[in-house]
Structure formats: C-alpha cells, structure tokens
C-alpha cells in the first residue's frame, strides 16, 4: 500500500525544508517529497494508494526519544517493551532509545537481544537499547562494549547509577569512542547528593526534605567535559537541569569540544516550588529546580547549547509512588506528554518549529548515529504528523504507558501527534481521524 500525505506543512531540518509539500510513501520508504506532479497524480493510482488529507497539519521526521526507561526485563508491572513502545507511538515517537537499568541490567548481549526481540514482537516503535557502561552498573568494571555493539546497542550509559570513578569514565570514553559508541552521562556526584530528595534551596528547607545541590550535577558535567577534552573524545550529558550545567556545556561547545546535551520537558516546565504538597509525582532525579534554572534551560535550548529534548520516561506503578515522599520512586511517565510540553516552547516563542523538530528528531538521530531523523527521498518512512492546534487535556487514565505517574494530569495542552508512521506503516492514528 502506498501512502500519500497531502496538504501539510512539511518540516525537515535535515533538508532545511519548511514548506507545504506532499509526501509519498512506498515500500516502507519515502518515495517522493515535494510539490511536483505526484501531487496532481493522486487520482491516477486510485485504489492502490491511500491518500490522507493533512491540511493545517505538520509533517516531520518521526520523533526520537533518546532517553526512556522500559522496565523489561524485570519490572514488567511498571512497563514492558510493548507497552512503552505503544506509549511512544501514541506520543508521536517512531523511535526510542531505552536505558539499561532493567533487572537484570542490560550489561550483556543476551539482554540487548532480548529487548530487541521484544521490540520486534511489539512491532510498534523502533527500540534502540542502550548498554551499561559498567557491569551491573556498579561503576567498577567495563562491560563488553564491542559485543554489546554487535548485539545492537546504540550508546552506553550507567543512567541512574552515576559513574563516580573518573578513571572508569575516562576509559569508557576512550574505548567507546573507538567503537563510535556515544557515552551518555547521568551527571550526579552521589556524595553531594547523598540523602537528597529534591533541589536544595528555600523549598527543601521549609519542607524539611534533604537537598540535592545544583553542584552535584555541575561538578560531574564539568568533570566529564574535562575528561572528554583530554581524551579527544565526546560526551553526551543526559537530562540537564541546572543553569550552571548549561553554562558549562555552552562554554565547552564554544571551545569546539564534542559535547552534546539533552534536557527533559519537566526541567523547563516545573520548579521545586510545586513540591509543597509533597506530591510524589513530582519526585524525579535530577530534581525539579528553580525558576532561574528554567530560564537558563530555555536559553540553552534556544541558542543550541542543549541539542535534544528527551522525556526521561520513567514509568512506575501506583504502589511505587503512593508513599511517603522519602520512599517514593523517582521519575515521570513522560512519553505521552513530552511533545505537548515541548510545543509550549514554540507557542511561547522560545523555539521555532524547525528548531523543535531538530531537538526531537534530527539531533537525537545524529547523536546516536541512527539512520533516522529525516524524510528525504529514500529514507525510512518514519513520519510524525502533528496537529498544532488540537486542544486536549492530559488524563493519565488514557495513557498507553503502564506508568500513570504524571504531574501533568489535568493539564490543558495545545498540539498533539495525530499520526505516527514507522517504516511506512501507520502505528498510531488519533481515533477521530477515521483512517
């Protein structure tokens, strides 16, 4: 079946396209894109072609969420590869990369292959496993990068278990770089963050909750930049949450270092002030910071210091969150709100549409060396269609993710993915489209 998507505004930063065009999909690939004669030939192929009128919609390369947690194997009650992939396509993501902190941890070929097999069975989004830097993510001994790469990982990270040993990080950067495997660093000095439950500042003080200082993140951002510089490699900084981190990354980029960085929607949307009711759906690591940090994150996104927006999708069961704040799990179920929260940046004039698409597709593809992130002719037909005007209300009960842990429940949103195409097949369509 061919697909002809007509009438939409097509945005593809990789090709510097932002224009009204038609897109023809054939055999899982982008066959044609343009305003040429194939638009007028719509009727000739009648019967063999499905024509979808997308007037007033936005077509972009399939969105890529480079930082998710899928919980399988080990914690299938929180999320499975299949439920996570379903949430991904419903959120507009045709591809996701998943962190290795499953149980057991993805530190060897068999887990990587297992996750990939589960993704194939689910047959929804492309799922790219990220392998652990160290065995058990214990921060002591490197995993077999080479073997993991052959098994299909696209990057390495000990996300959630920060690499405290600087020499281990050095060796990971060197060895990973030689295999073209990016290292994704969860920057947190666990001595500085020990006992911390939220951002350290006025609100942690009045709530009596242990504080996580911004410096816990910043000293590690600084360390990793310096090690990457010395080893002539590169580093990707995960979930940037502080003004100081943005400044350090900006300065590193200015010096020409190969440093890339992502932030998550909650870090430009919510502050620690919102924690005053001890609402555990707001408990996340790194923690929600201050209004000044939000301002700096937005500036970092606008000037290109922050390359990507990733959800840090961290699904949890009700029983993991309905607890005293101290005992509740960290994380936000983010796949189904990430795009709408990021669209607020466009509506607020922080980012242009092409800049947003770059941060949610083009750049993540580049950072992870994925053959994705564009809808040039010949590319895989991974396409996201967004209705920029669609008003909707977040309702966790309607999430496809098993994780209903969202602080955005009840929020009014504008803009939503209405169609997610992966490899030329429609994997999600808003029911009201009647396709």
């Amino acid at each position: 079946m061919k697909l002809l998507l007509t009438g939409a505004r097509v945005i593809d930063p990789a090709q510097k396209i932002d224009a009204k065009m038609d897109v023809l999909v054939e055999n899982g690939k982008i066959a044609k894109i343009g305003t040429g004669p194939f638009s007028t030939a719509k009727t000739k192929d009648a019967g063999k072609i499905k024509i979808i009128d997308l007037t007033d919609m936005i077509i972009c390369p399939g969105l890529i969420d480079m930082h998710t947690h899928l919980r399988e194997p080990g914690q299938e009650y929180k999320e499975t590869v299949a439920s996570g992939a379903k949430a991904a396509v419903a959120g507009g993501f045709s591809s996701i990369a998943c962190m290795p902190n499953t149980d057991p941890i993805n530190d060897n070929r068999s887990i990587t292959e297992f996750v990939k097999r589960k993704a194939v069975e689910a047959n929804l989004a492309n799922v790219y496993p990220i392998g652990a830097i160290s065995r058990q993510s214990a921060g002591e001994q490197l995993t077999e990068f080479w073997d993991l790469k052959e098994a299909g990982i696209v990057a390495l990270s000990d996300d959630g278990k920060p690499v405290m040993d600087a020499a281990l990080m050095r060796h990971a950067l060197e060895y990973g770089h030689s295999l073209s495997l990016p290292i994704i660093s969860h920057c947190e000095d666990t001595n500085l963050s020990a006992g911390g439950l939220m951002n350290e500042g006025y609100y942690s003080t009045i709530l009596g909750l242990g504080g996580i200082p911004v410096s816990a993140e910043e000293v590690m951002v600084s360390r990793d930049i310096l090690i990457a510089e010395f080893t002539r490699t590169g580093i990707h900084i995960a979930h940037v949450s502080t003004e100081g981190s943005v400044r350090l990354i900006r300065e590193a980029k200015k010096r020409g270092l190969k440093v890339t960085a992502e932030t998550a929607p909650h870090y430009f949307t919510l502050t620690d002030e919102s924690l005053q009711t001890y609402n555990t759906s707001l408990k996340v690591n790194p923690p929600l910071r201050s209004a000044e940090d939000i301002k700096a994150i937005k500036e970092g996104l606008a000037d290109g210091t922050l390359d990507a927006i990733a959800s840090d999708h961290a699904p949890h069961a009700r029983t993991d969150k309905e607890l005293e704040f101290e005992y509740a799990a960290n994380g936000i179920s983010g796949l189904e709100t990430s795009l709408a929260l990021s669209l607020r940046l466009v509506n607020d004039g922080v980012l242009t549409w092409p800049e947003l698409i770059a941060k949610m597709s083009t750049n993540p593809a580049q950072i992870l060396n994925l053959p994705k992130g564009t809808i040039a002719a010949g590319a895989d037909a991974d396409i996201t269609v967004i209705d920029p005007q669609l008003k909707w209300t977040v309702d966790v009960k309607t999430f496809y993710s098993k994780g209903k842990n969202s602080p955005f429940h009840g929020w009014e949103m504008k803009g939503k993915a209405i169609l997610t195409i992966v490899g030329g097949e429609i994997k999600y369509a808003l029911p009201s489209l009647n396709l």
């Binding site: 009045i206 009596g208 009711t277 029983t319 005293e324 005992y327």
Partner: protein
Amino acid sequence: MKFTRKDILGIKDLSVDEINLILETAESFLEISTREIKKVPTLRGKTVINLFFEASTRTRTSFEIAGKRLSADTINISASTSSVVKGETLIDTARNLEAMNPDVIVIRHSAAGAPHLLATLVKQSIINAGDGAHEHPTQALLDMMTIKEKKGRIAGLKVAIIGDITHSRVARSNIYGLSKMGANVVLAGPATMLPRDIEQMGVQVHTKLEDAIIDADVVMMLRIQLERQKQNIFPSLREYSQHYCLNSRNIKLARKDAIVMHPGPINRGVEISPDIADDPAYSVILDQVNKGVAVRMALLYLLTGGSE
C-alpha cells in the same frame, strides 16, 4: 471564632487567630491538670489513635495523657519503618485505622510530609506530632504558650534558636509560629547546620551563638543528634559544646530576665550547661512539658468540634 480545620499538619498553615484560639483554649485546660480528679468528660465516646512510626516516649505520653484527661479512648500504635517494606505500612495502616473509625489520628513519622499523605488518605482529623525535619506544630504551640505565660506577650520579643537548624522540625515550626505572632527570631548554629536560604523565612542568621543571643528575651536550644557526627556536619561534640553550649558565661549576653527553653531530651553539657539547665531563674523546660499536655488537649478538643 469557630475552628474549622480538619487537620493540624503544620504551623505554616495556621493564622494568627487560629494560634490565639488554640493557646486560649489550652490555657483554659491548664487548670484541669491541677485538679485532684484530672479528668473531664468532654471527649467521652471519642477515639484518639497515637500512631508513632518513630520512638518518642515524651510526645506520645503527652498526647496520651491529653486524650485521657478529656475522657477520650486513646490507643497507642508503635510501628517501625525499618522492619517492614517502607511506606506500605503507612498506607495500609491508614486504611485499616480508617475502617475502625477513630476521630483523631496523631502521627509521628521520620519522613517529612507523612502526615500530609495520611491526611489525603483518611477522612479523620490528623495531628502532626513531628514529621522528619519538617514541622512539629504541637511543640511550637507549647513553646509559644510557655513564652506567653512567662513574658506576658510574644510580639516584640527577641527569640534566639540555637543548634542544628537543618534537621530540626522544632525550629521550623517555631520560626513560623513566633514570626506570625510578632517575635523577632534569630538563629545560630555551625554553617553546616544552617539550611540553605533559611533567611528567606524572615529570620536573622548567625554562625556564632554570642551574636544571636545578645539581648534575647528567649533562648531556645535545640537537641544535637549525636549520630550526625558521622555525616561530618561537625567535627566533634567537644568542639560543638565549646562554641554552642549555653552556659553561665554567655547567657549574660541575653537579657537579664531571659528564659531558656529546650524541647528535650537535653544532652547536658552539650547544648546547655547543667547549672543553667537546672537553674529555675532561667530554665522553663519543665513548664514546657506541662504546657504540652494542655496544648494537645486543646487541639483534640478543637478538632472534634469543641468550638461549635
């Protein structure tokens, strides 16, 4: 004034009028404790559950006596947070307790915000008897009651709070309460025990005890948790006591008629030298204990509809 609040979770939420009503009600109950038959039938048929996830003989006993003097049925439940899967106990216990339909649940918990969680789970009134480093509202109320009795007022007084402010729920509740009532609150402690941005609570902050207690009307000394030494927030008890212990020498910096308070139990010679702690000219520590019962009686009374 009618008291319409369902719960007492912290002093932060209370208005000046509410604090005054609680203190006045407590004063009227003070006399009951001096009677030969120390019991009134006010809360007959009501049930109060003392749910303590953290050991505290003093506070629990005080609540228990308060309930009994008002003829409420009081039940003590001690739960350990370490022996069970963390947190699940609170939710499960809450649901179980709710099914037994008590009128008031008093909760003490090591996790800040636990009483707030409980309050969202059950329809009964919740009294926070201390949650982590967050608040200890009944302690602040009894402290305010003591100060009011000894000084005749709270407004305009200089109150110095000394010690480990970071880990002190007593300090936070008192800062809220005393500031609302018009006192000038000044803090002092080692820099490692002063939580970030605490001055935004409207207090003056010093790192030397002497700077804080000059001309103070009230000096409130906080308890040092000896195990904090392991976190490296102070080098030794020896050095701490040399610089932050209230003694007969530095007390002279305060006003002549200054009173000395401590939420107890005291580490004598660490926070307060024995001569000051036991000197009735300064120490009002036993008055605090006495007021504690009256304040808790007042809260039980007001929360069960006593002002109607």
